[in-house]
Amino acid sequence: MSAEPIAPALEPASTEEVPQFETPSVTPPVEWRLPVSRTQLLGLAGLGLIALLPLLVQASGGSIFWFYAGAYALIYAMIGLSVVVVTGYSGMISLMPYSFAGIGAMVTGLAMASWGWPFWLCVPLAALATVPVAVIVGAISVRLKGLYLAIATLAVAAMLGETFFSYTPVLGGNAGWTLSRPVPFIGDRSFYLLCLIAALLLVVMAEGLRTSKLGRAMLAVRDNEREAQALGINVMQTKMASFVIGGMMAGVGGAFLALLLQNVGGLGGTVFTSPQTDATSIALVTLVVLGGIDRAWGAFFGGLVFVLTNQVFQGAQFFFAFVGLYSAVLLIVFLMFRPGGLLQIGKLQIELIKERPMFGSIVAFGILGLNLGVAYAFLRLG
C-alpha cells in the first residue's frame, strides 16, 4: 500500500504555483489613433469649409467682396474668442470685447502710421496694449459677480468709448490713420488667408487653454467659485488671467481689423466711440452664445452671422430686421432649453441619428428645410 501524501498542498511544487498576477503592461496595446478628437476634427472640417467658401463663391462668379467679408468674419471670430475665454471658460459676463479690439486697432494705427513699425511687431504690441485695461476690469471682476459685473463692464466700455476712443488729437487727427497692409498680403484674397492662419492659431490657443491647468481652473471657477477656492485654486488670479488672455485675443483681432479696413481713428476711419461700440459688443456676445459659448466654434458662428447681417445684407433692410428677429427668437429659445447653443443642438442631433437613424435624419432635414424655407420666404418678401 503506497502512502498517499496527506497534505499535497504542502508540497513545494504547489507553492511555486502561487497565484500569478498578470503584470500590467506599461505600454497599452498599440492602436492607431488620430492626434485630434472627433469634435476637433469636425471643427477643422467646418473651418476648412469657411476657408474654401469664398473661393467657391468667386469661382461661381462672385466678386472679390466675399474675401473681404470672409476676412471680416474671421476677425470678428478672433474677437469672439475673447468672449469664449472670458464668458465661456470663466463664466464672467463681459460686455466690452469690442472695446478691447478697439484698443488693439488704435495702437496698431498709432504704431504703424506714426512710428512706422512693421505690422508683425504691431500685433504683439496690440495684444500687450490691452493688458492695463484688462487688469483693471479683472480687478473689478474679483469684487463683482454676475449682473453687477455686466453693468460694470458696460460702464467701462461707455467710458472708454467717450474718452480714449473719442480723443482725436491723439488718435490720428480728424482724418484718422491710413494704413497699408504688409507686402505679400495686400490684396483682399491674400489678406483673407493671413486672417485665416491667425484665427486658426488663436483657436489652437483657446482649445489648448481649455485643457491646460489654467483653463481647468477657469472652468472650476465658472462652475462654483467657493468649491474652486476650497480646492486651492487662486480665484483672483484665474479671473485676472482670463480677462488678460481674452483682452489680448481681442487686441490681436483689433490689429487685424485695423489692417482690413486700412483706416482707423479720427472721425472718418473706423471708430470705437460709444454707444455704437457697446451695441456691437452686446451683439457679438449674444451671437457667440448662440453658436456655443464654451468652444471655439461658437466664436466662428458669431463672427459669421455678425458679418452676414451687418456687411452682406446691409442694404436689404427688411431682411436685416428679419435676421434680427429670427436670431432673437433663436437666442431666447436656445438659452431657455439648450444653453449650450448650436453646438449642443448639433451633438444631440448626432446622437439621435446614431440611435434612431431614420427618425434622426428626418428631424435633421426637417430643421434644415424649415430654416432654409423661412429664409427664402423672407428674401422673396423683402
Binding site: L144, A155, S274, V329, L331, L335
Partner: protein, 313 residues
C-alpha cells in the same frame, strides 16, 4: 457775477431728465426685486411703446388717449415677456438671464423696426402742452416742467401705493421672502406678472415723456423723432437708469427715484463745464456707476437673507 440763467435752465432740464431716469429705475427695481431679473431689455419695451404711440397718433387718435393705450400695451408686453420667457429661467444663473434679456430687447427692437420701417427720422407729435416759460431771465421748456411734475407725482404716488395697498404689500412680501409669501397664500406668478406690468408701463411712460418732446415743431408744439437705423440712443438711456437703480442697491425704490435726479442733474450740469469736459455724456454716469458698484450699495438696504434670496433660489 455769474449769470444765473444758464444754471436755472440746465437744472430744470436735469430735473426733468432725472425724473425720467427715476421712473425707469423704479421699473427696473420693481422687476428685479420681485422676479430676480435685471431687465437689460427695459429700453426696448419703451421702444415698443413709442412704436404703438406713433401708430396710434398717425391714425388720428387724441394724444392723451394714445399715451394711455400705449401704457396698457406695454404692460401687456411686460406680462407676456414674464409669462413666456423669464418665468421659466432659474434665476440663479444670471448670465443666462442677462443674455435672454438682450434677446428680448433684440426681438422687440426688430419688431419695432419692421413696424416703423427703416427711416433716419420717424417723427411723432408731443403730448405735453407747449408754451414758453420765462422765469428770472431764463427761458424754460414747459415740457421739462411738466415732465418733472408728472414723473414726481407718478413716482411718489406709486411708492405710496406700494406701501399701503394690499397689492403693494403682496408685492413686497414676494420680494422679501418668496417661499413665505407662497405659504401665506400669495400667488407668486400673479404678483410677478403685476410687477412686470407696472415696470413695463413705467418704462413706456418714461420714454414717452422724453422722446416726443426733444424738438420744437413749427407751430410751437413739441415733436420728437427716432432713427430706426440706430436705436442705441434709446439703449443708452439704460446706463443712467441702472445707475439710479444702483443708488438704491437695485432694491430700494425711494433711493432709486432720488438717484435718478442725481444722474439727471449730473448729465445736464456737465454742459456748463469747460470745454473738453462738457462732452462727456456717458463718462460721468459710467464713473458714478462703477463707484456705486464697488461701494456695494445693496448692503445698506437689504439683510443677508434677502440678498441670498435675490441671488440664489
Amino acid at each position: 457775477m455769474i449769470a444765473t440763467q444758464p444754471y436755472l435752465e440746465v437744472t430744470v432740464a436735469g430735473l426733468a431728465q432725472g425724473a425720467v431716469f427715476g421712473l425707469l429705475a423704479l421699473g427696473l427695481v420693481l422687476i428685479y426685486r420681485t422676479t430676480g431679473v435685471l431687465n437689460f431689455g427695459h429700453w426696448a419695451i419703451g421702444l415698443m411703446g413709442i412704436t404703438v404711440y406713433i401708430g396710434l397718433t398717425s391714425v388720428g387718435t387724441p394724444v392723451l388717449f394714445a399715451v394711455l393705450i400705449t401704457m396698457a400695451t406695454c404692460a401687456v408686453i411686460g406680462v407676456l415677456a414674464y409669462r413666456f420667457v423669464f418665468r421659466h429661467i432659474p434665476r440663479s444663473n444670471q448670465i443666462i438671464v442677462i443674455l435672454i434679456a438682450f434677446g428680448v430687447a433684440q426681438l422687440l427692437s426688430a419688431l419695432a423696426e419692421m413696424a416703423l420701417g427703416f427711416k433716419a427720422q420717424v417723427t411723432m407729435p408731443g403730448w405735453l402742452p407747449a408754451f414758453a416759460v420765462h422765469f428770472g431771465g431764463a427761458t424754460l421748456k414747459s415740457s421739462d416742467i411738466f415732465t418733472f411734475l408728472f414723473a414726481i407725482g407718478l413716482g411718489l404716488g406709486f411708492l405710496v401705493w406700494f406701501r399701503v395697498s394690499r397689492t403693494g404689500r403682496a408685492l413686497r412680501a414676494v420680494a422679501q421672502n418668496r417661499e413665505a409669501a407662497l405659504l401665506a397664500g400669495i400667488d407668486d406668478v400673479k404678483y410677478s406678472s403685476i410687477a412686470w406690468a407696472i415696470g413695463a408701463a413705467l418704462a413706456a411712460i418714461a420714454i414717452l415723456l422724453i422722446i416726443p418732446h426733444k424738438a420744437t415743431a413749427s407751430g410751437g408744439t413739441y415733436q420728437g423723432y427716432i432713427n430706426t437705423f440706430d436705436l442705441t440712443p434709446l439703449g443708452v438711456l439704460l446706463i443712467p437708469a441702472f445707475g439710479a437703480a444702483l443708488v438704491g442697491g437695485l432694491v430700494n425704490m425711494p433711493a432709486a427715484l432720488a438717484g435718478g435726479f442725481a444722474f439727471g442733474l449730473a448729465e445736464n450740469l456737465r454742459v456748463l463745464a469747460p470745454v473738453p469736459w462738457n462732452k462727456l455724456t456717458y463718462t460721468i454716469p459710467a464713473l458714478m456707476i462703477v463707484i456705486l458698484l464697488l461701494v456695494r450699495t445693496e448692503r445698506l438696504f437689504t439683510t443677508q437673507q434677502e440678498r441670498e434670496a435675490l441671488e440664489g433660489a
